[in-house]
Each structure stands twice: as C-alpha cells, then as structure tokens.
C-alpha cells in the first residue's frame, strides 16, 4: 500500500513537473540562444524577432503533438481502415459500410442516438432555463440551485445505481422497492418493467442524463440571466410587457449565445453517451447506442468469442428475434 502511494505521488509529481519544466525550460533556452539583453541593439532587435517566430511553436508544440497523435491520426487511420477488410490488407470498397447499414442493431443504435440528441439537449436547456429563471426570483434560490446542481457531481455509473432504485420492478402484488412502481401501484396501476418497456425505455434512460445535466445548463444560464441589464427589463415593464413577453422577447434574445453554448456542450456529451446504457440495460430491449455498440463489438465480442460479428450480435440480444 505504501509502495502504491509512493509510486502514485511520484507519477503525479513527475508528470506535472515534467510539463512545467518543458514550458519553463523551452522558454528559458530560447532566451539564452537569442539573447535580447547584453548585446548590441541591432542584434537584440533581430533576436527578439526570432524569439517571436519560435516561441509560439514551442508553446503550441505539445498541444499540436498530442492532437496529432491522439486525434488527427486516429481519425485518418480509422477512415482508411474502414475501406479495408478485417485483416487490414485488402481494399474492399464500401463493403463495411454496407454491412453496417444492413445490420439491425447498428441501425437501431443510430436511431436511438438521434433520439437522444433530439430529446436530451433540448430538455436539459429547457429545464435549466426554467429553473434558472424561477430560482432568480426567490430568496432561497441559491439553496434550490444547489440541490439541482448536485447530480452533476455524481458519476454516470453512480447515477445509474441511484436510478435502479427508481425503476426497480417487482411482480404485481408484491411489495415494490422502486419508487416509480410504488407510485403506480399506490394509484392502483399495474407495475411495469420500465427499462424493458419497448420504445419508452429509451426515454427512461434519457431521464437519467437530463437529471444529471440540467444542473449544468441551469448554472451557466443563471449566470447569463444575471448579466442582462436591468434597464432593458424595466423598459419592457414600463411599456406594459407581461412576464411571458419579458421572458421571450427581452431575456431570451439577450442570452441566446449562452443558450447555444449550453445546447452544443450537452449535444457533444449526448453523442458520447455510454455509461448509462451499459449499466442500465447494456443495449438490450432496443436501447442500444453507438458508443455501447462499439464497446460490444470491440471488447465484449472479443471476450465472448472470436466468431464473426453478425452472429454474435444476434446471440447477445435475443430480444431482436422477437
């Protein structure tokens, strides 16, 4: 244990200080090679120009290097490999694309991803905006915002565990331990297996992400709302605008840029949605999304067998046969 702690501290210190040393050292070295002090004023001018030409690249270097290795190269290589066969040897044209588009699970995943994209960013931004506006008007608004913000600090896997206590299903007539089914039963309804309910189960998974991300939208939009000049709202009030008109015609246009940023940020997050689907359903019952499908094919399939991919995809999700 002590050994682990020491090696962990060493890793952190070496990594961070290595980074600091690079920037500081490179900057220092440049100053030493092209000195601007203690030389004739003509060569100082020349050296300063040379410094100015080199320094940006020294500072941009690590960022460019990392982006090239970890982003640009993989994108190009993936595109290249997509036209080759399994061994990466022979050119097969668009056969891989045709196969993927013909795969039922792949199309399901694409469809679900679009569903997530349509619902989650819109819902998060909407709820975030509504909560930001409402909490701005009451004295305990900050306390309320704290509670809405809290889920943002919970990991996706943790959130899924939390929501299992909401969606948990027990047979009809049994004591329900899931909140949702308990409420349904209390109103005399029949308990449902929420996460395998066809089509709607996608929305029950989305609720989890909306629950997490609304706090983010709320905080950013709340800050933007506070930046709106009071005069504009006062002028609108004097002109006789009602609450809805003030909100839609005075406030929203002024924070439109922030709304776009929030929307885009959450859209990017939704494109990467993975953990929630993996932990709640693992893509079963037609809830598959692209990230989880990739994980299935790349890692889980390799673990199950080296068999051909299409045969595995049907054996892993028997519900598709129905």
């Amino acid at each position: 244990m002590t050994g682990q702690i020491i090696s962990a501290i060493l890793t952190v210190v070496l990594g961070v200080s290595g980074c600091v040393v690079y920037f500081w050292g490179a900057n220092r070295l440049l100053d030493m090679i092209f000195p601007a002090h203690g030389v004739s004023s003509q060569s100082a001018i020349d050296n300063l120009r040379r410094q100015g030409l080199i320094r940006p690249w020294l500072f941009l270097g690590p960022a460019l290097l990392i982006l090239t290795i970890y982003l640009i190269y993989p994108v190009i290589e993936t595109a290249r490999l997509s036209f080759l066969d399994r061994g990466g040897q022979n050119f097969v044209g668009t056969a891989n694309y045709e196969w993927a588009l013909g795969d039922r699970e792949f199309r399901q995943a694409i469809f679900n991803n679009f569903l997530w994209l349509a619902v989650v960013p819109a819902a998060c931004t909407f709820f975030g905006l509504v909560i930001a506006v409402l909490t701005d008007r009451i004295w305990w608004g900050n306390i309320a915002k704290m509670f809405v913000f809290m889920p943002l600090a919970i990991s996706f896997v943790g959130a899924s565990v939390i929501w299992k206590f909401i969606y948990e299903y027990r047979g009809d007539g049994q004591t329900q331990i899931g909140v949702l089914n308990a409420i349904v039963q209390w109103f005399g309804g029949e308990p449902q297996v929420w996460i395998s309910l066809p089509f709607w189960n996608n929305f029950f998974l989305m609720v989890i992400l909306i629950w997490i991300q609304t706090g983010f939208a709320m905080v950013i939009l709340s800050a933007a709302l506070r930046g709106i000049p009071d005069e504009t709202i006062e002028a609108a009030t004097i002109d006789g605008a009602n609450g809805f008109q003030i909100f839609w015609k005075i406030m929203v246009p002024q924070i439109w840029g922030t709304i776009a940023v929030v929307w885009t940020t959450i859209t990017i997050l939704v494109l990467k949605v993975f953990d929630i689907v993996l932990t709640m359903t693992n893509g079963q019952w037609n809830t598959q999304v692209l990230a989880n499908l990739m994980f299935d094919w790349m890692f889980a399939a390799a673990a199950i067998s080296a068999a051909a991919r299409p045969s595995r995809s049907s054996s892993c999700s028997p519900s598709y046969r129905s």
Binding site: V16, H37, L53, P62, I131, P151, V179
Partner: protein, 228 residues
C-alpha cells in the same frame, strides 16, 4: 416583493414550483442515501421510503425434536428459539396451523390439544410443554408473524471501504485526476498565449503591446526599445 394585491398563486406559485423541482431532483439521491444506511436484507424486501416504519412478514420455524426434552415438575419441556441469532425480527403472533398462523399473541401460553402448551415470546424463544413425553424425530411446526423494526447500520459502508482493491482504486483515481486537471490547463494556457502572441492581428492600438515580434518591424523596434 410587495404582498398587496397579489393572489395566492402569484405570491406562492414560484416557491411551490421550485420546491417541487427540488424534491424531484433530490428524491433519487435521497433514496440511495437512505438505502446505504439500511440493513442489506431490508433493502431487497421493502422500499427505502418505508425505512422508518416497522415492516411485518410471516415465517415458520420448527421446535427442537423430542430428544431435546427435559422433565420439569412432572411435565416434559422443550425450549429453544425459533429465530436465528442476532436477527432483528420480533414475533407478534404465532400459531401451529398454517390456516391460522396468527392464532395466538406472542408471549401468551397457547393451549393445544391434550394439555400440551406452547408459549412463543417476542424474541423467538419458546417453551413447548406436555404432560407426557414427546415422541418423534421432528419437532412441531410453528407459524408466526414477525415484525422488523427499522434498522440502520453502517455495515454497507464498512463492506465497501474495507473491500479488496478499494485503496488502489482511490489512489488510481487521484493519480489520474490530478495530472489530468493540471496538465491540460498548462498546455491550453500556453497554447492560448502562443496564439495571442503570434497569430492574432491587433484589433485596436492597445492590443499591439501583446504582440511584440510579429511581422511588421515597426512595432518590433518599439518593443525592443522597451526591452532594452
């Protein structure tokens, strides 16, 4: 906020709406918090919102067999306990027939046929007594209704905190989190400065000072003069 001339909805509407939102957003987390403090068997059989109430369940047990009997004052007595050691269950009623599992109150002496008596107490202890010696290899079946008082425990936390590999996980998390926070900020800050330094064109005269050595030599001379 002037209170005059406002209806109930105008005055309290926002408060109620926000309160509802807060409740909806907090209930899931509250659920896991309450569950984390509950007995792990209770989590599986009752909702976390019932954690403070006593839940009841039915069960059955069997008295010890005839070979456990002792003779006391002319009667043959078998005594023992129907419940497991350390259980939180409390028996409220018992019976010897499955049709009437709650025929007798816990703590009372039930008169069975032929002078046989059975007393089952709350804690599960029983006294089974008969004027004649018991026979048979199996004891008498006893049905009961038991209540589980609310039980809160830190056992779940102990299980997790002292489980195998948790320490390593914590250390690994920190090892990843700390550099992954500091290094990107460093790299991005220097990259942003480089962009400001070399690639941006001055938008107003004041901005010129931030780009000492771009292409036009005119302001290079200025900066060089400053540097000297």
């Amino acid at each position: 906020m002037a209170a005059t001339g406002k209806s109930f909805a105008q005055r309290w509407g926002v408060h109620i709406a926000v309160l509802l939102i807060v409740i909806v957003w907090t209930v899931p987390t509250l659920g896991i918090l309450v569950s984390s403090l509950r007995d792990k068997d209770q989590i599986a059989v009752s909702g976390w919102w019932t954690a403070l109430t006593t839940s009841s369940q039915t069960g059955q047990g069997r008295t010890d067999a005839a070979d456990a009997q002792v003779e006391q004052g002319g009667r043959f007595v078998i005594s023992g306990n129907l419940l497991e050691d350390g259980t939180a269950l409390r028996i409220t009623a018992f019976g010897t027939r499955i049709q009437e599992p709650t025929a007798h109150q816990a703590g009372t002496v039930a008169e069975l046929e032929d002078g046989v008596t059975l007393q089952v107490n709350e804690d599960g202890s029983y006294v089974y007594s008969s004027p004649v010696a018991f026979e048979g290899r199996r004891g008498e079946r006893v049905f009961f209704e038991a209540s589980t008082p609310p039980r809160f425990t830190t056992e779940n936390y102990e299980t997790v905190l002292f489980s195998e590999g948790i320490g390593r996980s914590f250390i690994n998390s920190l090892t990843v989190t700390i550099p992954a926070t500091i290094i990107p900020i460093l790299i991005a800050a220097f990259a942003a400065y480089a962009r400001l330094d070399a690639f941006s064109r001055p938008r107003d005269p004041d901005r010129r000072r931030h780009r000492p050595a771009g292409r036009p030599p005119a302001d290079v001379a200025d900066t060089a003069a400053q540097a000297l």
